[in-house]
Symmetry: C2
Subunit: 357 residues, 2 copies
DNA sequence: AGCCACTTCTAATACGTATTAACCGCCTCG
DNA sequence: CGAGGCGGTTAATACGTATTAGAAGTGGCT
């Protein structure tokens, strides 16, 4: 009794067993259009031999040669393990997985636990390349890496709008501009004139787009922008009762737009503020979130907000990526999908506020 | 200014630029022990050229040569998309991902959306073999497939105890027997003598192990098993107030052990029963869960239960798998990890109950 | 001078697949 | 009877890397 073979069966093994050449085996197993030129009996013999040997193609060889692996990569720039963050990514993962499966691709999770710096090219190796293409997402993008991927002509689609210097990146992004603008319109319709806009830290595209939307919404309503009402909120915990009262009492603010953090600190802070601090939304002040709080922390309130169709964005990203694989057309496609308005219960009519500039 | 190069730089490009051979480049860049035999000036020249060209190794070629892909598969026998199931599956995914990353492997998600029957072997080809090895889990295992994988000598580790006819399967399993036995001991200590044991449908190992634990716990307490107190609960929704009252009033039951479903139907049913039906746990009846309800549905109660260390099991499974890859020793290792007791608030002292056999 | 030892580098090859040009046998048609 | 065509198969090659045997050069020692 021979010891069990460790080596996996190759096309050559199949070829020998079926009495044909390796090339024939490849033609049969690739199954493509070329396989019709193989006579049926030969085909069957090859398939039988493959079955008996428990053959499965070696992806490394396949992708080295340039063939399809039918693997899609998924890469996240954030560390995935902090629980807060994962709540944010989960819907994306779901959507990507679902659509990939539907299209007959398996998913390759590049789990970047690495040290920091350049992670995609760890040890000078681009790990992504095992897959046919890759969906990427995350907030703290390392743009040099992204640019390098684009330069290398590796098919990638980003979930979220990202701009690169000197390179066109494909993406599927939420339409923060219009969503925010509409939200402003909604507030104006209820009589609000002085709306505080609280930006997240940093200067990523989503943050900029929300500000653009804010400005556009005010412009559409014929209201001049008071630059002092655009602030950066370093930490959601700063959203204290005192902070809010300051704006309402001394600046005449009647409504606040706030860009949510990806963890649940924002909603926690708001809950604390209204519970312990006695600030009543919307009686004292209307408030609306510029996006979703993490989805499955138990929500004590139904915040007025807009909601990004994360799963749909993810599915769209996969479709886009696969279309890139199939037809490497020139321009990098960039899609924008609308957000849905969630009425919620945290905005109301503007109260009478005595305030003079 | 030349248009940006499409093809990525290879070792051959570097070799040409540095005026050496490809082999030399490989020796230098691999950095291994053999690189010491390269003269320092040559080394520097190669490194410089590599830097200028922005070289990054082609992982496909690398793993083709090395015989390793550094991919670990993750396959689940359940359909993955129903959100309920997902909640169950997620901690495992996290653990697997974390440990795989730590060990320098990426994760290949085999997303089985397929039709049913034999999914791993589609078209006589084993999809799992794309990876170096595979972690599997799920309730509705197709044992023929598992057995075939073992027979083919493909490295797999199951999360959960599974027995196969004529094949040794490696697994990492929770110690349901002792956990259940201990839980019974806890109830007996509080005066309970007639404990209803509600099995899940089916006859999988976890279900059998829990029953074994139930029997062992009673035996340890010197209580004879009343077979009529071991029942199968087809649907958690059957856990109505009437059902519970039936057992407490006509059979003298003072405590119930119930095997949770993987979705959130069980806790939902219990919530309904205690809210609408007026059954008070533990005043009317003690109740404990033989495992975790889905982790992040908002828990209205802190159920007494034991909890499996899912992430740890997953990490252990990955370690086990990698050890299988590195050293193909004979026996298939099988590990059991203890569960942790969660006191909760749904058990109490046994009430006086007038009941005669 | 001849030989060996040592350092530094290279030629050659293997890994497993996809692809293409070529080949072979056979039939048809002129 | 030869030219041409066609269906079916294969030889050859490329992909980018790691590895090994050995070549070329250098110097020391007898």
């Amino acid at each position: 009794m021979a010891p069990p073979r460790q080596r996996r069966a190759t096309q050559l093994d199949i070829a020998r067993r079926a009495g044909v050449s390796q090339a024939t085996v490849s033609l049969v197993l690739s199954g493509g259009p070329a396989s019709t030129q193989i006579a049926e009996p030969t085909r069957q013999a090859v398939l039988a031999a493959a079955g008996e040997l428990g053959y499965s193609a070696n992806i490394a060889a396949k992708s080295l040669k340039g063939g399809r692996t039918y693997l899609l990569g998924l890469y996240t720039f954030e560390p995935v393990f902090p629980t807060d963050q994962r709540d944010f990514y989960y819907p994306f993962l779901m959507g990507v997985e679902e659509e990939a499966a539907r299209q007959g691709y398996d998913l390759l999770l590049f789990t970047s636990i690495g040290s920091g710096e350049r992670e995609i090219y760890t040890g000078g190796v681009n790990r992504l390349k095992l897959a046919d293409g890759c969906v990427l997402l995350g907030r703290n993008v390392r743009r040099e890496e992204l640019a390098e991927l684009v330069r290398e002509d590796f098919p990638i689609v980003f979930i979220g709008r990202r701009e690169l210097d000197g390179a066109e990146l494909s993406y599927v992004a939420a339409d923060y501009v219009n969503a925010t603008s509409d939200l402003v319109g909604e507030l104006v319709r209820r009589g609000h004139r002085r709306i505080l806009h609280l930006r997240a830290t940093g200067d990523s595209e989503p943050t900029r787009d929300r500000e653009s939307g804010y400005r556009r919404g005010l412009a559409a309503a014929g209201i001049a922008v008071d630059e002092s009402l655009i602030r950066t909120l370093a930490d959601p915990a700063d959203l204290t009762p005192a902070f809010i009262r300051h704006w309402t009492d001394t600046a005449g603010v009647t409504a606040i737009l706030v860009e949510p953090s990806e963890d649940n600190r924002l909603t926690t802070a708001l809950d604390v503020t209204s519970a312990d601090g006695g600030v009543r939304f919307p009686a004292d002040c209307s408030i609306a979130l510029l996006g979703d709080p993490p989805s499955w922390t138990p929500e004590l309130r139904n915040w007025t907000r807009y909601s990004l169709p994360r799963a749909e964005m993810a599915r769209t990203a996969v479709q886009l990526l696969i279309s890139l694989l199939d037809g490497p057309d020139g321009a990098a496609p960039q899609l924008t999908v609308p957000c849905s308005f969630v009425p919620g219960d945290s905005i109301g009519p503007a109260p009478e506020r005595t305030w003079s500039r």
